[in-house]
Amino acid sequence: MTDLRSQNGLSRRGLLKGATALGAAGLILSASVRRAMAEPKRGGILRVAFASGNTTDSLDPATWDSQFVQCFNVARNATLTEIASDGSLVGEIAESWEASADAATWTLKIRSGVTFHSGKTLTADDVVASLNYHRGEESKSAAKPLVDPITDIKAEGDTVVVTLSGGNADFPFIVADYHLVILPSSEGKIDPMTTDGCGAYVLDSFEPGVSVKMSRNPNYWKTDRGWFDGIEALAIVDSAARQNALITGEVDVIDSVDLNTVTLLQRAPGLVILPVAGNQHYVFVMDTRATPFSDNNVRQALKYGIDRQELVDKILQGYGSIGNDIPMGAQQPYYNTELEQKTYDPDKAKFYLKEAGMDSLSVQLSVADSAFAGAVDAGVLYSERAAAAGINIEVVREPSDGYWDNVWMKKPFCASYWGGRPTPDLMFSTAYSGGAPWNESFWDNARFNELLIAARSELDDDKRRAMYWEMQDLLANQGGTVIPMFASYVMAHTDKVGVPEVVGANQGMDGLRAFERWWFV
C-alpha cells in the first residue's frame, strides 16, 4: 500500500525527480536553490505571454473563461478570501469570518482601509452588490451555481452576513473563486464593465486578444505583495510563437509550455521550467444512465482497461501523476490514502466484463483536443490497451469547435477535464452529486449524496474525514468517471524572475496570482 501511495502522491519533489530523469537536473535544481535564497524586491515590468486570450474577452466578471482574463483581473481586483500557496485559506477583503453552529449563517468582517483605484473606500455594500451580481434570475454568470445556495446576504456595519440554504463548512472557500471579485457599487449595483478595482495593479489598457498593460497601485494595502512596477500581459496562442518569445527574451514568463517540445525548451540557456502539481485532472466520463455504462461492472472494466502510467508518460511527458478515479489531488487534506490504486489489469477488466455477462464490449469514445491537450492521442492509447481486455473502444474524433455544447454531456463516453476545486465538498457538489448541473456522468448515488450533505455541515474533523473517505471509495469503485491522470501546470520563466518557494497549485500561474506574488531578482 505504501508504495502505491508514494506513486500516486507525486508531489513537487517527485516532479523534480521526474524532471531529473528527463535530463534537466541542473537546470531545475539550481533554480529551486536560487529561489530559496532570493528575497522579493520592488521594480521592473513583468512581461507574460499567455496561451489563451481572445478578441471576445470582456471585463465582465461573469464571463472570465481563460487564464489570460482571469490572471489580469485577479491582479486588478480582490476576492473576499484567498487560497494561499499551500492550499490553506486566508482572508483578503474579509479580515475574518465566523459561522453559526449549523454553518448556515456566515458573518464576514470586511477589512477597513481598502480603497479602489478610483479612490472610493471599499464598504460592505460593495461586497453585497458584487456577490448579488452573480445571483438571481437575471444572472448569466458562470459562477451562479456556486452562489446559488446563498438565500440572503446583507451588510451590517463593517460585516456582511450571508445566509445559506443549508450548512456549509466550506463556504469561505467558495468566495475565493476568481469570478467573485469585489467591484465598486452604487445604489446596490456594480458596473460589470468597470475598469476599477482594489487589487495590486491598476488597469492602464486592455485590448482584447492582444495585450493588457497595468501599473502598480501605489495605495495597495498589502505590503508584501505586488513587487513589479508594471505588468504587460500578451495573448500568444501559438505555442511555437510563445516559446520563441521567451527564448528571444521578448517576454519573461509563459503560462503554458507545449509538452511536446518541453525537452527542447529545457536546453535553452537562462530559462527555468516551472511544473506545479495541482488538482487539474483529465478524465474520460461515461453517462451512467446509458447502456452499457449503467452497469457498474462495465464501468469497473473500463477503469482497469486503461494504462494510467503510460498516459502520464506519453501524454503529459511525465509532468503529472496517475489518478485513482478520485477528483482530488493527493496533496489535498481529505485525500483517501488507503484506497487501492487501480492499475492497468486486463485480467481484472475481463473479470468485470464476465460479471456483466459479456465476452467483449464495443463502445465509442468521443474526443477532441479542446477537452484537454492530447485528448485524441490519449483516446487512441486507451483504445490500444483496452483491446487486450476484450474492450473495443472506437475513438471518435469530434470537432474542437463547440465541443462543450455538442459532445460533452451529450455523448455517452467522452473526454473532459477539471481544474479541480480546493475542497472535496466543492468538487463533489459541482460534478458528482445527483442532479448537479455539471454532473457529467449523471451519476446519482443515494449514499454519496447523503454523505455529501452530512459532511458539508459536519464541523468535527474526524467524522468529516471518515465521510469523505467513504465517498471517495464510492466514486472510485462505482462512479462513472475514469480519472487516469493529474496534469501539472507547466510554466516557464527566465532566471531573472523570482518565484516563491511554494507555488499555488489550485490553478495555473500560481493560483492566478503570479502578478502579485512574483518579483524580479
Binding site: 471576445t56 471585463l59 464571463t63 495585450s211 496562442v237 518569445a245 528571444t248 463547440g402 455544447d405 455539471w438
Partner: protein
C-alpha cells in the same frame, strides 16, 4: 473614357448588391453553426439558466430574421453596432486592426509586386536558362510550403539570431520605421508565399506573346531583346498580370490569419477567427464585409486597369 465611367458605376452598383448577398450568406452560415455566443463564452461552466439569461441580455432569444434586420438597419446608417462579447463598438475594434492589416498587405505588396514583375520579365528574357530554372524552382518551393512553415524557418534563421523580432507587436507609439522593422518577417513570409504566382504569370504572359508575328517583326528589325519585351510584349501582357496581382493583393488583405498568429500581429484575420469561434456575429459580419469589399474593389481596379491597357476595349465600335 465614358466606357470606363459607366463600367465603374455599374460594377460599384453590383458590388453593393454582392455585399448585401454576402451579408445574408454570412448571417445564415453563422446561424447554422452549432451553439451561440452565450454557450461558447460560458463553455464548460454553462447551465441552462445562465445561458438563457445571457441570451436574453444579448437579444439572442429573438428570431433570426429580427436580429438580421436590426443589424442591417444599423449598418445602413453606418452603425455596425457593438461586439456581443465585450460590448465594445465594432468600429473601434476594427479600426486599428484594419490599419494593421492594410499596412502589412501594402508592405508585402511593395516588396512582392516589383520583385515578381522583375523576376518574371527576366525569366521570360532568359527563358530556359539556368537563371530561369533557378528562379522558378525557388518560387515554386516557397509557394509549396505552408505559410506557417516558411514563417518558422524565417524565425529560426532571422529572429533567433536577434536580427529581427519574432513578434510583430504594434501599438500607437510605434513609428513608421520601427513598424517596418517589426513587421519585416511577416512581410517577407507573405512575399515568399505570393511571389511565385505573380512571377509565373508575368513570365507566361510575356512568353506567350513572344511567338506573335509582330514580335517576330520587331526582332527582325534588329531590336534588342529587352526592348522587345518592355516596349512591345509587356503592354499587351498587362491584362492577365494585373488580374493576378489584384487577386494576390486581395489574398494579402484577407488570408493572412496564419501569419498573424505566428507573428502575434493584431490584424483582422485573428479577429475574424476568434469571433467565428465565439459566434460574435456582428463582428463576423463587419469583418466579412470588409474582406468582401476588398475583393470587389481590387477586382474592379484590375478590370479598369486591364481595360485602360487595351485600346481595343476603350475604343469599341
Amino acid at each position: 473614357m465614358s466606357v470606363i465611367w459607366t463600367m465603374i458605376a455599374k460594377r460599384l452598383g453590383l458590388g453593393v448588391l454582392t455585399l448585401f448577398v454576402i451579408s445574408v450568406i454570412i448571417f445564415g452560415a453563422t446561424e447554422l453553426l452549432p451553439g451561440d455566443l452565450a454557450q461558447n463564452i460560458l463553455g464548460q461552466s454553462a447551465t441552462p439558466e445562465t445561458v438563457a439569461a445571457f441570451r436574453k441580455e444579448l437579444g439572442l432569444d429573438l428570431p433570426a430574421y429580427t436580429r438580421y434586420f436590426n443589424w442591417l438597419f444599423g449598418a445602413l446608417q453606418g452603425d455596425f453596432g457593438t461586439s456581443l462579447a465585450n460590448k465594445r463598438p465594432i468600429a473601434d475594434l476594427i479600426a486599428t486592426r484594419l490599419g494593421n492589416t492594410l499596412f502589412l498587405a501594402l508592405y508585402a505588396a511593395a516588396i512582392s509586386v516589383p520583385l515578381s514583375l522583375l523576376l518574371g520579365i527576366l525569366a521570360a528574357l532568359y527563358r530556359n536558362s539556368i537563371f530561369d530554372r533557378t528562379v522558378n524552382a525557388m518560387a515554386l518551393s516557397s509557394i509549396s510550403f505552408p505559410e506557417f512553415f516558411v514563417a518558422y524557418i524565417l524565425i529560426f534563421v532571422l529572429a533567433q539570431s536577434g536580427l529581427f523580432p519574432s513578434m510583430s507587436r504594434m501599438d500607437a507609439t510605434v513609428g513608421f520605421g520601427e513598424a517596418l522593422y517589426r513587421t519585416f518577417l511577416p512581410a517577407l513570409t507573405l512575399t515568399l508565399v505570393v511571389t511565385a504566382h505573380m512571377m509565373r504569370m508575368t513570365r507566361a504572359a510575356i512568353i506567350n506573346l513572344l511567338a506573335s508575328p509582330y514580335i517576330e517583326m520587331a526582332r527582325l528589325k534588329g531590336m534588342k531583346p529587352m526592348r522587345v519585351i518592355l516596349k512591345h510584349a509587356l503592354p499587351n501582357a498587362l491584362a492577365p498580370i494585373i488580374t493576378v496581382v489584384a487577386l494576390n493583393l486581395a489574398y494579402l488583405v484577407t488570408g493572412v490569419v496564419v501569419v498573424e498568429v505566428v507573428f502575434v500581429y493584431p490584424g483582422l484575420g485573428q479577429l475574424m477567427v476568434d469571433s467565428v469561434s465565439k459566434r460574435d456575429f456582428p463582428v463576423v459580419q463587419a469583418v466579412a464585409l470588409i474582406f468582401a469589399a476588398a475583393y470587389v474593389l481590387l477586382n474592379l481596379t484590375a478590370d479598369v486597369l486591364s481595360t485602360l491597357s487595351n485600346p481595343r476595349l476603350i475604343h469599341r465600335k
